[in-house]
Amino acid sequence: MILRTAGILLKKEAREFRRDLTGSGKSSDIPGKLLSLALAAAIVAFTCFVLKRFAEMYVDIEINRVSAPYSRLYELTTAIYAVLILVNALGGVRTINRSIFGSGDLRIFVTLPVSSGAMYLSKIAVAYLKQFVFGFFTVLPVNVTLATCLPLGAQFYGMTALILVLMPLISLAVGSVFALPVYALTRAISSRYVISLVVATAVTGVAFWLYSEVLDFIANLISTGDARYFFDAETMREIARVTNNLFPASCFADMLLTSDMPAGVGWVLLLTAGLTAAGALIGRLMLIPAAQDRLFSLNSRHVYKGHGMPAPRSVFLTFMKKEFVQVLRTPSYAFRYFSTAIIMPLMVYFCMDIFSELVGMLVLVDCDLEIAVFLIVMFGILTNTYCAGNISRDGEFFFTMKTLPVNYRTVIGAKVAFCFIGSAIPTAVSAGLVGGLGYVEPWQAVYLLFVTLAVSAAQICFATRRDLGHPRFVVAESASAEEGDSTVSVLVIIGLLVSVVIGVVALYDGIYLKLTYGEAYGETASVASVAVIAVALLAASLVYLFVGLDKKYREVSGGAA
């Protein structure tokens, strides 16, 4: 009976998964999917490139003048699989949480004669497919990269296929075991808006810092030849000892590389079976009831006693406050509005450090201003995606606002102004940082601020007008409601193109014209051309936003007839 019901539910899940994958649904975001795919491919390609360089260097390391490339590869594979297991397990927790706790259809199923086992089975089957895709993008490229370092036989490729099948099971089992505590923790934190914002910002900042540090460390080891000194005999013995005992990652390395393959396979199968049984038991007995409980209970702290009636404000400030409250009390918006803005100067700083050195070495011309223009514009655009849902975010309340005695300029103006504040502060901090660290002159920092603010304002005007033309009003009242529109992806794609154009123009002027016609000429041309582009973008987006805005605002209609 369970299997029959699970089969029916699975058909429904599979139909939704296929529609989601192929984009045949009405809400499909083709640009977004292509962008995500391109970004994932870029990240994987870059990681594999760095890994290959590192692996080639690592397998050549000699201990007491004795080379043992396959032992080195074993150590490296074990270490990499430890990371892969962790990454896939985190992905599993996320997938399980989304599949079960984020599922709206449970609301319907709980009223039908459907057991929690059948619900769990149908959800987990689709989750497996998702994790398989995730594994395909993580495990396979890493194994292919490792295989390019040393000649490896059929065992390696056969076991890679087996790992691709088993890794999603392991990650989902771990996900099922940890989903509930992780869910309880995130729920407890998410009801404290400021704390969750601080935590999310800190975690993202630390992750970004770690990523930069690791990359910097590897790049240094490879480029300077310090590896020989860093990986001395004592360190290598310690690495060998740790990797040999790094269960279960060492079992995967055994499966792929050593004659202990049967033992490795046995351990991995045992682990998979044990974890899957535990995961299924927990999933069936606890996850579904917990998800049901979540469906019909409050998701957040909801009492704000003692504040009394607030003092009167101007209508414009009232609308600004509404935007602020919406951001602060919706964790996903808070992250997009505040956290990315806080992280942006960090990103500019790290990249400025790398690019300045790199371009300086390559062309022997000081192009720090041009690099700063490119980086601040690009990161400004990438982090300023909050404005993409400026209209949709209001949901049905947008129509209530239309019945209020408020001019459309106030409603739209407050949204634009609020987004601009969120964009202007990190932009100003970034420009100040670049100026303060001596990459550019003080006047150049002011110019940077002017140019990047103009581009940010243009982006906000463009996004707001586009969202007004294609609103997809948020209907969910969940704490993490998100727009389902393609505005974010379109905005990011156009933004990236704009930043590339500005970057190319700035660097062409900064390098070619400086080398050909001299420093002063090149710098003037660079400053003038970028300023013209920024002003033109701003003017065009202002025209796009304000021409016919009144009519467009009135014509946006929705709700039931």
Binding site: D394, G395, K402, A560
Partner: protein, 251 residues
């Protein structure tokens, strides 16, 4: 308080003349050319089946939906174009409780008070007065997203009245209200009309129309089929006349 442009008593609270509304890509008019007036001190019920055109009429009236054919004015202020003056004169309660749910009830009322420019002392006494009728109690400090259906209805009503409007428009106001609150709302409407306010609401609730309204308009297929006084009408008369067709109870 912001200035409200309410002219002399001979100008009706609502004047609708030849209103037609067709939704994009729809084959037929949702509202096919209706005209009516609502006078001050009058409570008018707009009766009709699902899809009859009640909500569309109210949404055009409040500026929520644009319309091209016909004229609507609120206390003589046109709704077409910049309807700010017209909108200052009424408070509107939507049928879908489309409020800003990330605010607490009190924050939402303060938001509406700011929009209508209600001074601090007035808004405080007004909230006290409205609390007596709608009785949200301590729940007024809770996030609206945590409210039940009926509580959302109450906060919509309270916020629509914070500026003491001269016209109160409500779309299906009795849905989801408990009997006690329904009775309190009815009494509030009567007292409001006796003070000179006009009330226009859509409903399916025939009993509410009989108890509260001075006048009822029956709308069918986007047209007003009947416009009658409800005062002195006998029990069961309205349903028999307008909701029974061919022996079938449609409502």
């Amino acid at each position: 308080m912001k200035k409200r442009d309410i002219p002399s008593a001979d100008v009706p609270a609502v004047r609708v003349a030849g209103l037609k509304k067709k939704y994009p890509r729809a084959a037929e008019y949702a509202v096919g050319g209706i005209s009516f007036e609502v006078q001050r001190g009058e409570i008018v019920g707009l009766l009709g089946h699902n899809g009859a055109g009640k909500s569309t009429t109210l949404k055009c009236l409040t500026g929520m939906l644009p319309y091209r054919e016909g004229e609507i004015s609120i206390f003589g202020n046109p709704v077409k174009g910049d309807a700010t003056a017209a909108k200052m004169c009424f408070g509107f309660v939507t049928d879908d409780h489309a409020v800003f749910s990330k605010m607490t009830g009190l924050e939402y009322i303060a938001f509406m008070a700011d929009v209508y420019g209600v001074p601090k002392d007035v808004r405080e006494s007004r909230v006290e007065e409205l609390q007596k009728c709608f009785n949200l109690g301590d729940k007024i400090d809770n996030l609206i997203s945590s409210y039940s259906h009926g509580m959302k209805q109450k906060i919509c009503m309270m916020s629509s009245l914070i500026h003491d409007p001269a016209l109160w428009i409500l779309d299906e106001p009795m849905l989801g209200l408990d009997p006690t609150t329904m009775n309190a709302v009815s009494e509030f409407m009567r007292a409001y009309a006796e003070k000179g306010g006009a009330v226009l609401f859509s409903t399916h609730n025939l009993d509410a129309v009989r108890r509260i309204c001075d006048r009822a308009m029956v709308i069918r297929g986007g047209l007003i089929e009947a416009d009658m006084s409800v005062k002195g009408i006998g029990d069961g008369e309205l349903p028999e006349r307008f909701f029974l067709r061919g022996g079938e109870v449609e409502e």
